[in-house]
């Protein structure tokens, strides 16, 4: 901090001759923003490098053993597996079904346990916000491989109660999901005045269920949708827990199938990545548009006006 006035004094004389030079462009760029060319170069180079593995995956799915010609043969074979070659994709579909069931239960856990607890803390015991945050972020610190060491004995008990069903994994996966579900909901809660709104609704005679259902939840659409989508993405991508608790889920099935038919495994992997990408783009757009959010529209309108005059002066 103390360095700032020092440089100001030292540089003052050189600042003046520096000024006319960029004037013939527009104005000197100030601040951290990169020039258009720098931005384009970085984004294109990094973007291309990151596209290569995905493109390689796609190219791989078009290959077939023996020939150099590319074709969509493997895509067709998903639905008409060659029984004679001993290829059986049923574990993959079974795993996908199991993963979707686990998704449903995990989402239910988040909406019926985490969300009410967060609202409860916010409305009744705000002093425990830090404790709740700590607990919810904790699973990031504990690697899932470490948790698995403890899950194995816990699940021997769980299996004794519920049987060794794939859906029981949802309890373990829910812990892994906790940080991802917590963050968007917490951000959403801090973005609107939950306490005042609920007090106003209460003073107008709403009962708590009515307040939660008709006042609070409509304000939390964005956070809840993000939490749900992130939960779905994380559950579909979960491998560690499923593999150690010997359940067949989408990821374990992918790895299994890749040993007999790596083409189809790659097709499914690529499809899952694209699906998750689309899901998250939808979250992003949903957040940007948000139907009916008046406060949002105001906020969007405000930056739209000043950017135009600013842009003509400097490149911000």
């Amino acid at each position: 901090m103390s360095a700032v006035p020092l440089t100001g004094v030292a540089v003052e004389p050189t600042g003046e001759p520096a000024n006319p030079a960029p004037r013939n462009r527009r104005a000197p760029r100030v601040g951290a923003e990169p020039s258009r060319i720098t931005r384009l170069v970085i984004l294109i180079v990094v973007g291309l490098v990151f596209v290569v593995p995905l493109a390689a995956m796609f190219e791989f799915t078009l290959r077939s053993a023996g020939t150099t010609a590319l074709g969509f043969g493997h895509y067709a074979s998903i639905f008409h597996p060659d029984a004679a070659a001993g290829v059986d994709y049923s574990p993959l579909f079974q795993g996908l079904r199991n993963s979707l069931v686990i998704c449903l239960i995990t989402v239910a856990l988040m909406l019926l346990i985490l969300l009410p607890t967060m609202l409860f803390v916010e409305l009744r015991y705000p002093r425990f916000r830090r404790v709740l945050e700590f607990v919810c972020i904790l699973p990031i610190t504990i690697p899932s491989i470490v948790l698995v060491v403890g899950f194995v004995p816990v699940y021997q008990r769980v299996a004794a109660i519920f049987g060794s069903q794939p859906w029981t994994l949802a309890f373990a996966v829910g812990i892994i999901v906790l940080p991802y579900a917590y963050r968007p909901i917490a951000t959403n809660i801090s973005a609107f005045d939950l306490v005042t709104l609920s007090e106003a609704a209460r003073s107008l005679g709403g009962s708590w269920p009515v307040v939660v259902w008709r006042v609070i939840l409509p304000n939390m659409r964005r956070g809840v949708v993000s939490a749900v989508f992130l939960t779905v993405a994380v559950v579909l991508g979960e491998y560690t827990i499923a593999s150690f608790l010997s359940q067949n889920t989408f990821q374990t099935a992918l790895l299994l199938i890749s040993q007999t038919d790596s083409y189809v495994a790659t097709i499914f992997a690529l499809a899952a990545l694209v699906f998750a990408g689309i899901l998250l783009v939808i979250i992003g757009r949903f957040g940007a548009i948000r139907p009916g959010g008046r406060e949002r529209r105001v906020r969007r309108a405000r930056p739209a006006r000043p950017t135009r005059p600013v842009r003509s002066r400097s490149a911000s």
Binding site: G8, V11, E12, G15, V30, G31, A32, T38, R39, I42, L43, V46, F50, V52, P53, L54, A56, M57, E59, F60, L109, L114, R124, Y125, F128, V131, V135, L138, P139, T141, I142, P143, I145, V146, L147, V148, V149, G150, V152, P153, F171, I175, L230, A233, G237, S243, F244, Q251, L254, L255, S258, S262, A269, L273, G277, L280, V281, R285, R300, P303
Partner: protein, 315 residues
């Protein structure tokens, strides 16, 4: 943890409201009816029960199992595993892969954040970058392993291209991907997006007014960067770097899909868990889990310190 802190703090609001009216606390807690307060605590039960059963208990078991011998008595003899050369090598491998991929990821990711400065946060570009980043950072696992087999595996796209244009076989001395340093490639691939996600808020925290103030005082852009932006961003940068390290260090799925034997700690834990027969409670795995946890706790402690420092400029 929750069970400890809840009854602990429970006495406090009750005591304070009894001794003094304490208007702020009363309206903070949202209830002026102490009669109900005792019942309201039940609201925590589902969450507390769930977290204790599926987070508290497994975490305690994981660490505690390292301190039991095969016949069930308490011992610290298992800690001798840390002198085993293969286990030491696994920690070395893990640290090597995590550090290199974290540094690469942090530098490249910070460049991307820099390039994204000044784009609209709600624009299509940022939305797509954010979405792709969180897919690759959090969702990849097994699927990224496939992607890299298709890229630099024996018949990989890039392998074949390099062979045909430069005549060099990157898998010449053994498969690149199936060795420990080969993991750096996929690990960097999911570290960069994580850096974009965690570092972007700090980058956006650079106020335009600081740049203008520096410029009016005659600072060049280089001076602005070295004297203002970099010192402000440093805590966030190193914090994110630690987070990338922690993420790579605890990552399992990608490595498990590529390597069948050990070499990094998570894979060694897997070997221990699957080879031992005593009802899944394998003691060496517990010791390794403890070792990992110690490193993670240290890293995350410094991360939260740096994060708190970085938060000073983000508002």
């Amino acid at each position: 943890m929750t069970t400890q802190s809840i009854p602990d703090a429970r006495t406090r609001p009750a005591g304070s409201s009894a001794s003094s009216p304490a208007p702020r606390e009363a309206c903070d807690a949202g209830g002026t009816r102490p009669r109900r307060r005792s019942l309201a605590w039940l609201g925590f039960t589902p969450f507390a029960a769930y977290v204790v059963l599926f987070l508290g208990v497994p975490a305690v078991i994981a660490v505690a199992s390292g301190f039991f011998s095969a016949d069930g008595s308490i011992t610290v003899a298992n800690l001798r595993a840390f002198t085993d050369p293969t286990i030491l090598k696994a920690f070395q491998g893990s640290l090597l892969v995590s550090i290199v991929s974290a540094v690469l990821g942090a530098v490249i990711g910070a460049l991307v954040c820099f390039a994204l400065l000044g784009t609209r946060a709600e624009g299509l570009l940022r939305t797509v970058v954010d979405a792709v980043s969180s897919v690759l950072a959090q969702f990849g696992g097994v699927m990224l392993a496939f992607a890299f087999i298709a890229t630099v595996g024996f018949q990989g796209f890039v392998t074949l291209w390099i062979k045909s244009t430069f005549g060099y076989d990157i898998n010449g001395d053994g498969a690149l991907l199936y060795k420990i340093p080969g993991l750096i490639l996929p690990y960097t691939y999911f570290s960069v997006p994580l850096m974009v996600l965690t570092f972007m808020p700090a980058m956006e925290g650079l106020k335009a007014t600081w740049g203008e103030a520096a410029a009016t005082l005659g600072a060049t852009r280089r001076q602005y960067w070295t004297r203002i932006a970099m010192p402000v961003l440093a805590p966030a940068f190193f914090g994110s770097l630690l987070l990338l390290f922690a993420n790579s260090f605890s990552s399992f799925a990608t490595a498990a899909a590529l390597l069948s034997q050990g070499g990094i700690v998570p894979l060694t834990i897997k070997q221990q868990l699957t080879s031992e027969t005593i009802l899944g409670v394998s003691n060496t795995a517990g010791v390794l889990a403890l070792g990992m946890l110690v490193i993670m706790v240290v890293v995350m402690f410094f991360y939260s310190l740096l994060q708190r420092r970085a938060a000073r400029w983000q508002r």
